[in-house]
């Protein structure tokens, strides 16, 4: 089937197959992809509007035993520079963030070998109670699996107890690329695609909302990308629990993987990924443009390639910073970037409810 036929099919809202996906990814021209992706984006999220969230992305610990070769952030237990903060310390941080208008805390650590499960439950429970202004968006699937191992529980039990403590939303991190061929090479100890999918499915069944992510630009090929999206689409068919899909490109600085992949995946590739995932993930409502990981100008461009969300303001971030990739913004600048890209800016919650709309003052140029 020719690229134009596949695009026409996607436009009409018909699902494209794996093979058609690979064909499209390999051969479609960038702006053809963008045009179709935009059409779907405006059908799903009408209006010249882009959402964003005021959030922060701190870490409770950098201790980790998984040794992913794409990560510059983690330290082994006992290694110089390792840290683990107390619950009190974290609550203090959240309160400070709430004072700056933050509504979402995306919290992740490493996969810590010895923190008791109560620590995590306490974090959730006290956050809900003591800092009700912020919504916890805590713990990647890898951490959930780590907690289950540590406490000798099933991941489902872990998820239920965290739910009872007040957790309602999980970040999609830890997916990297959901192709075991690649996962074995870059994160041997992190578990398989099925592990990630299993936790996500359990979470959705319980009632959690989560995001789905993808880290590309390392050892994957087109088929791995499509395999990843296919799995996300299947999970969504079952549980409808994903709010958004967030692709980002691998940042090679200070990582062992850097020696194999010395260059950033390019902005063109990112825009292609945004448009392509919008077309392939026909059952996801939102595609997030990550200005933070890709650069502000690329983030702006992505809003015209099928993305409808600009991610968070990220008051604090440590993981990319450890790879020498530093990008900061304020709420004000975030709004301006959206306005300058030609859209009204709508501040949302973690679960995509609109809090306020800041209309664009003038037609953007």
């Amino acid at each position: 089937m020719y690229v134009q036929d596949i695009l026409a099919k996607a436009r009409e809202g018909e699902r494209i197959t794996r093979e058609e996906g690979i064909e499209l990814y390999r051969h479609a021209e960038l702006l053809d992809l963008a045009e179709a992706a935009n059409e779907i984006r405006f059908r799903k999220n009408p209006g010249q509007q882009v959402t964003f969230v005021v959030d922060t992305n701190p870490n409770y610990s950098n201790v980790c035993t998984i040794d992913c070769i794409f990560c510059a952030f983690y330290r082994h237990p006992g290694e110089e520079g390792e840290y683990t903060y107390t619950v009190d310390h974290m609550i203090g941080k959240f309160k400070e963030s709430a004072g700056h208008g933050v509504t979402t805390v995306l919290l992740q650590g490493g996969v810590h070998p010895s923190l008791p499960f109560d620590y995590y439950k306490e974090l959730v429970r006290r956050t809900r109670k003591e800092v009700p202004e912020v919504f916890p968006h805590f713990f990647s699937t890898s951490e959930i699996i780590g907690m289950a191992h540590g406490a000798g529980m099933s991941t489902e039990q872990v998820l239920r107890e965290l739910w009872d403590a007040g957790l309602r939303s999980l970040p999609g991190g830890g997916a990297e690329i959901l192709s075991d061929r690649v996962k074995k090479k870059i994160s041997r100890l992190k578990g398989t695609s099925a592990d990630w999918a299993g936790v996500m499915k359990q979470a959705h069944r319980i009632g959690y909302k989560t995001t789905a992510t993808m880290m590309y630009g390392h050892l994957e090929n087109e088929e791995d990308v499509v395999e990843h999206l296919e799995l996300v689409r299947q999970i969504q068919d079952e549980g409808n629990g994903f709010t958004a899909f967030i692709p980002w490109s691998f940042k090679p600085g200070n990582t062992p993987l850097e020696k194999i992949i010395p260059h950033y995946a390019t902005p063109t590739r990112y825009l292609q990924m945004i448009a392509f995932s919008r077309l392939y993930l026909d059952n996801l409502p939102h595609i997030q443009a990550s200005w933070f990981s890709e650069g502000k100008k690329t983030g702006q461009m992505a809003l015209h390639f099928g993305a409808d969300d600009f991610g968070g303001t990220l008051q604090e971030e440590n993981v990319h910073a450890a790879a020498n990739f530093v990008n900061t913004t304020s709420t004000e600048e975030c709004v301006r970037l959206i306005h300058d890209a030609g859209f009204s800016a709508a501040q949302r919650t973690t679960l995509y409810e609109i809090l306020r709309v800041i209309p664009t003052a003038e037609v953007a140029v």
């Binding site: 702006l31 390019t266 015209h304 953007a364």
Partner: protein
């Protein structure tokens, strides 16, 4: 194309019909929210002009001094003599920065109070002599105007002397934005629109092509940007001497100017590239200057109408980590990657935008003339990529093994017969051609001993002219090659033009040349044979499958055209001043099938060729212009 913004649809219609866009059209384009449709329109226009090619050059930027008599508000480069930051480079300092692979030396700098005129001439002359491969592109209009005032010479005299020293082209800086309102606010020491255009049109008249720029993202309005473009478009209509347009986003830095935003948005950058591609319909190239535009936006801009990425400029800073590899080579690899990433083919160029190297496979040379439109109008590219290139360059590239197929000038085809295989298609005339024309002040027999300016675009027409002169009329004339780009033809006794340029002048006339001869009719009256100007061929080294694919694709394109040339080539024809009926008639005059009579014509021509070569008359006696 699916256009979401209804305002854009009538504009796209206009573009497809070859109509010019107005200021109001430009505003509609600039203010659209359908950025992708705007990009696709610009990309399609760019494809028609430059195919899949994106041009880059191995160049080195030289700023010979930062000492400047002006103090412009927006400039944080200039220093005063005696400042700690002030520096001046000697000619030897400059030479030390130039590595052998450099093809273009870009020189601009401050305007120091005490440099003598000879120092500038020496700089240009020394580079020209010591590095003959490197062409000098030097001095903005502001600097030329400064020389004119300081050394009390006319602008023309300044340019003539620089040209004699070796200056080839000029950069486009100093244009800023052509608005008196803005000039008074920000650039009151600069020369303004009139001064800038005076310098550039004088340069074009002397055969010095130039670039053009626009500084945007400060206090100017959208209308002012569009007026700027329209002024450039008008000037280009008159001289044809602009090579490229370079939008430059304002960088506030330490300048003390407070623009609306600290930096232009990526969307503004992309829109500016796309709008300029659509407004400047008579500009061959639009440049995404990666150093200023950021690499992020540049790679995307190559899908929004830009076909020019500038060059290696100063090399990559990380070079010192890379051992023996030069900074220029590293920057070159990066540019190639950026261009490939955009889905285009990287083409290394010289100072005049002639392609030197093509970094891609399956590349077809595309003759940019009206007569080859039927081959391309319905051509499905499939695995092939297109590089528009004039016939002579196509021959050079094919000889280097950098092109896989194309419509080759007959002379090149004969020269490369060992490596090329014909595809059964050609451009042959029946009894006249109208696009290979000798514009002459004298009749044929009075051209004895005279000098004829010959097109730089092809060898075949030049050889046909030689055969006609020597064998039909028995006269001997001297040939002198015209520049690529702009020329002063008046000093010649006759001028040979081909392609669209010949068609345009065949209709409109060429000032000072009263006699016009059609070389194909001269040949036909004499030999009663068609003349084969060009032959489709593919490199023998390619698999048989590619040969079949391409021959089939060409046949399908021709079949799809049928006899209706006006509808596929009408727009192209209008661009060079032909009505639809004239376009139709012109294209009906060709035979595209390489048949028996065409083969016979090639044999006869080849025999004359051999005779001329044996008697020592041929390419050898034409002087480079």
């Amino acid at each position: 194309m699916n256009i979401r913004d209804r305002k854009l649809a009538p504009i796209w219609d206009k573009i497809q019909q070859g109509q010019r866009l107005t200021l109001a059209d430009g505003l509609a384009l600039y203010t659209t929210q359908d950025v992708i449709a705007l990009g696709r329109m610009a990309n399609e226009v760019q494809q028609a002009k430059s195919g899949d090619a994106v041009y880059f050059v191995l160049n080195q930027k030289i700023e010979h001094t930062n000492i400047c008599v002006l103090s412009c508000k927006f400039c944080d480069f200039a220093a005063k003599k005696g400042d700690e930051r002030a520096y001046e480079m000697t000619t030897e300092d400059v030479l030390a920065k130039l590595t052998p692979e450099i093809r273009e030396v870009h020189i601009t700098g401050g305007m120091p109070p005490d440099w003598p005129w000879e120092r500038y001439l020496d700089l240009v002359r020394t580079i020209h002599h010591r590095l003959p491969e490197a062409d000098v592109k030097a001095f903005t209009a502001v600097e030329i105007d400064f020389f004119h005032k300081k050394f009390r010479m006319s602008i023309e005299e300044v340019l003539r002397q620089l040209q004699a020293a070796g200056l080839k082209t000029m950069p486009g800086g100093g244009a800023e934005i052509f608005s008196e309102r803005v000039r008074k606010l920000l650039f009151n020491q600069k020369i303004g629109a009139k001064g800038w255009f005076d310098v550039h049109s004088t340069a074009h008249r002397l055969g010095i092509p130039t670039n053009s720029t626009m500084l945007y993202g400060h206090v100017e309005t959208l209308e002012e940007r569009l007026i700027h473009m329209i002024k450039l478009r008008d000037a280009q209509d008159e001289t044809g001497g602009f090579l490229t347009f370079i939008p430059l986003a304002f960088q506030p830095g330490e300048t003390g100017i407070k623009p609306r935003n600290m930096f232009t948005s990526a969307i503004d950058d992309l829109k500016t590239i796309a709008v300029s591609r659509l407004m400047l319909d008579n500009f061959p190239h639009i440049k995404a200057y990666w150093v200023m535009l950021t690499e992020e936006v540049t790679s995307v801009a190559l899908n929004f109408g830009a076909d020019d990425i500038d060059g290696t400029v100063g090399g990559e800073k990380i070079a010192h980590d890379a051992g023996a590899t030069s900074p220029t080579t590293i920057a070159k690899e990066k540019l190639i990657q950026m261009i490939r990433d955009a889905g285009k083919i990287p083409v290394e160029r010289d100072v005049y935008y002639n392609p030197i190297h093509v970094y891609a496979d399956n590349v077809i040379g595309k003759i940019p003339y009206l007569n080859s439109v039927p081959f391309h109008a319905h051509l499905e590219k499939q695995q092939f990529r297109l590089l528009p290139v004039v016939p002579r360059r196509m021959g050079v590239l094919a000889a280097q093994g950098e092109l896989d197929a194309g419509l080759f000038s007959l002379m090149d085809f004969l020269r490369l017969e060992d490596v090329l295989e014909p595809l059964g298609w050609c451009i042959a005339t029946r009894d006249q051609v109208k696009s290979v024309m000798l514009f002459s002040k004298e009749g044929w027999r009075d051209l004895e001993g005279k000098t004829i300016g010959i097109t730089d675009d092809t060898a075949t027409s030049v050889q046909l002219l030689r055969v006609l002169l020597e064998k039909k009329y028995h006269v001997h004339a001297t040939f002198e090659r015209l520049h690529a780009g702009v020329n002063d033809c008046s000093r010649f006794d006759a001028v040979l033009l081909i392609g669209d340029e010949a068609l345009r002048h065949n209709k409109a006339g060429l000032d000072g040349f009263e006699l016009v001869f059609d070389l194909a009719s001269e040949w036909y009256e004499w030999q009663k044979l068609p003349f084969v100007f060009a032959v489709w061929a593919i490199r023998k080294a390619l698999p048989e499958e590619s040969r079949r694919d391409l021959a089939g694709l060409l046949e399908r394109s021709l079949d799809a055209c049928g006899d209706d040339f006006a509808s596929i080539a009408g727009t192209h024809g209008r661009r060079i001043g032909l009505t639809e009926a004239e376009t139709q008639e012109y294209l009906e005059g060709f035979n595209y099938k390489l048949g028996e009579r065409e083969q016979e014509a090639i044999r006869v021509f080849r025999r004359f060729q051999a005779e001329l070569a044996a008697s020592g008359v041929g390419n050898g006696d034409s002087r480079e212009g």
